[in-house]
Amino acid sequence: MARMTMIEAVRSAMDVSMGRDDHVVVFGEDVGYFGGVFRCTQGLQAKYGKTRCFDTPINESGILGTAIGMAAYGLKPCIEIQFADYMYPAYDQITQEAARIRYRSNGDFTCPIVVRMPTGGGIFGGQTHSQSPEALFTHVCGLKVIVPSNPYDAKGLLIAAIEDPDPVMFLEPKRLYNGPFDGHHEKPVTPWSKHDLGEVPDGHYTIPIGKAEVRRQGEAVTVVAYGTMVHVALAAAEETGIDAEVIDLRSLLPLDLDTIVQSVKKTGRCVVVHEATLTSGFGGEVVSLVQEHCFYNLEAPIVRVTGWDTPYPHAQEWDYFPGPARVGRALKEVMEG
């Protein structure tokens, strides 16, 4: 066991995977020589050489398309899109090719790629460096979508994603890279070394894709969250004293509906939280499913706490970010409802 940040955990996952399977290749903008803007691939080129860990030009569409071709012929590309906000030029390749090649070729060709991308806000990135585009992936059949909330999960899930035979979108909440973040931006950053989930095995292990994890047992209300918002939800539960059960989805597609339904049947109340904008966000899907499966158990309308339906502003980061105060208000609201 070692203490790792999320950056180190992600790096370790790629290192372990590259060591075990020489079909695994890692590439992207500034990924090789520079080691990635968040340093996630640091040292991999030195260790595995330039044919297995390399830089690409700035052309996301080309990066994705090339990866898909490589994967169709048996390689396992694990690529980095420097920020999730830069994936849009590649979105065509992701949705029309990566997600469809298995279906279209009747299973002759598959697309075992992983697209890693830092996601979310909280770092003053503004409009083009803070977006949370997960719902644009969950809306596409043929993709798997993962958002880890801590180093231990990040490593186990990333190895599982690399070993998975299908395309996986792996969104790394960048605000969690160096430490858990509960939304209290004015407080000093706690490092992962002080957190249980910063304890990460050095070697190989996987976490099954499609399994949620209950981060806090509770009886009063179910909070469904993922990524950074898991930590915010935990803080909100502590601060309001409401006995919330906090579920960390980890994987949005496939979704662990059983864990959610079981919890809501117990609590009778549900709050869904994400950083992404509200309208047509992934929370809408969760709310529908809970409604379908738990309607007769619900004691109050389900409430969503999300980013506002606005671009991510530069100046008003903390007005935008759904912090613990907003989540806390929602908890109270469903308790009164």
Binding site: N59, G126, P313, H314, Q316
Partner: protein, 348 residues
């Protein structure tokens, strides 16, 4: 004054085969006293502004991304000297210099960096996202390469409206590898659009040097298969830039279609504010600073020709510093935007 050869910057190779050989003749005229003084002041304003922005960042007044233009000042200043009212400018995220050169207020830019309501985007855009209809500045774009197509569209609009304005579309050596650049080149050539593609080749895209990312490192030739003429220009010499700009603008205004100017330039600072800079040596940076600095070149000329005394240059520096200091004061004292601003300017 005798025409000069377009100098190559440092050890870089100059253009192999320009598509159109007689362009500029590889030579350019000297500046008049007024031109030199004007260029000096304009470049110094950008330099001092950027130095101040760097300081404010270090002090925590600016957060997030902040890409400084220091070292590249001659490019925008020289280009701007060739423009007339109504010509459009569009660029990427390393945009403070472009805005100042367009005449946008230092206060407005600085206050945007600090995220205040007096900023050009009311504090909601930040360093990479600012605009000015009045100054025909179309942004400020954080997504690498996106502006190239938009700039092409601006040129289309000029043609459609039947004016003779020109779209100045700036992008970097790294951005030059985005697919939409070539989609744009094709359309611009096909429709003979009045657009100058200015590729600011500062040798690096973040930590990736040109040679590690580009199969064709002579960016002036990137339009060759579309028959777009292209030229390499010493982007550290404001006179060379201005001369190239004059000819390129003329080319566009007279309906000859797009043209590419590759500016050989250099950024002194890191890519953004946290850049370990392991991808280049300190010597390389130092050599550029001491041998090719765009501002020093003009300064030396002004003194040598006795067009300005040391004291007069000091006075210019002081005037510039006053403008910058005022912008910094404003950017620290102006309030943040009201929360109600969150929802403005999304849709009507």
């Amino acid at each position: 004054m005798a025409p000069r050869k377009t100098a190559s910057v440092s050890s870089r190779k100059t253009a192999a085969k320009p598509v159109k050989k007689d362009f500029n003749g590889g030579t350019f005229a000297d500046f008049s006293k007024d031109e030199d003084l004007n260029a000096y002041r304009e470049m110094l304003l950008i330099r001092r502004f950027e130095e101040k922005a760097g300081q404010l960042y270090g002090m925590g007044f600016i957060g997030g991304f902040c890409h400084l233009y220091i070292g590249q000042e001659a490019v925008v200043v020289g280009m701007q000297m060739a423009l007339k009212e109504g010509d459009q400018v569009i660029t990427g995220y390393r945009d403070h210099g472009h805005m100042l050169a367009c005449g946008m207020s230092a206060r407005g830019v600085m206050a945007e960096l600090t995220g205040r309501r007096g900023g050009l985007s009311k504090g909601k855009g930040g360093s990479m996202h600012m605009f000015s209809k009045e100054k025909h500045f179309y942004g400020g774009h954080g997504i690498v390469g996106a502006q190239v197509s938009l700039g092409t569209g601006l040129a289309f609009a000029n043609r459609y409206r039947g004016n003779d304005n020109v779209s100045l579309t700036y992008f970097g050596d790294g951005a030059a590898n985005q697919g939409q650049v070539y989609e744009s080149f094709n359309m611009a050539a096909l429709w003979k659009l009045p657009v100058i593609y200015i590729i600011e080749n500062n040798r690096y895209a973040m930590g990736t040097s040109v040679s590690r990312a580009s199969a064709q490192t002579d960016f002036s030739q990137r339009g060759a298969s579309f028959n777009i003429p292209g030229y390499q220009v010493d982007g550290m010499d404001v006179r060379a830039v201005k001369a190239a700009a004059d000819e390129a603008v003329e080319h566009c205004r007279t309906g000859k279609g797009p043209i590419i100017l590759e500016m050989l330039t250099y950024r002194y600072r890191g890519h953004s504010m946290s850049d370990p800079a392991k991808y280049r040596s300190k010597d390389e940076v130092q050599k550029m600073r001491s041998e090719h600095d765009p501002i020093e070149q003009v300064r030396a000329r002004l003194l040598e020709r006795k067009w300005a005394s040391e004291d007069e240059l000091k006075q210019i520096d002081k005037d510039v510093r006053d403008v910058v200091a005022d912008s910094a004061d404003f950017a620290q004292s102006d309030p943040e935007p009201d929360a109600s601003e969150l929802y403005t300017d999304i849709l009507i």
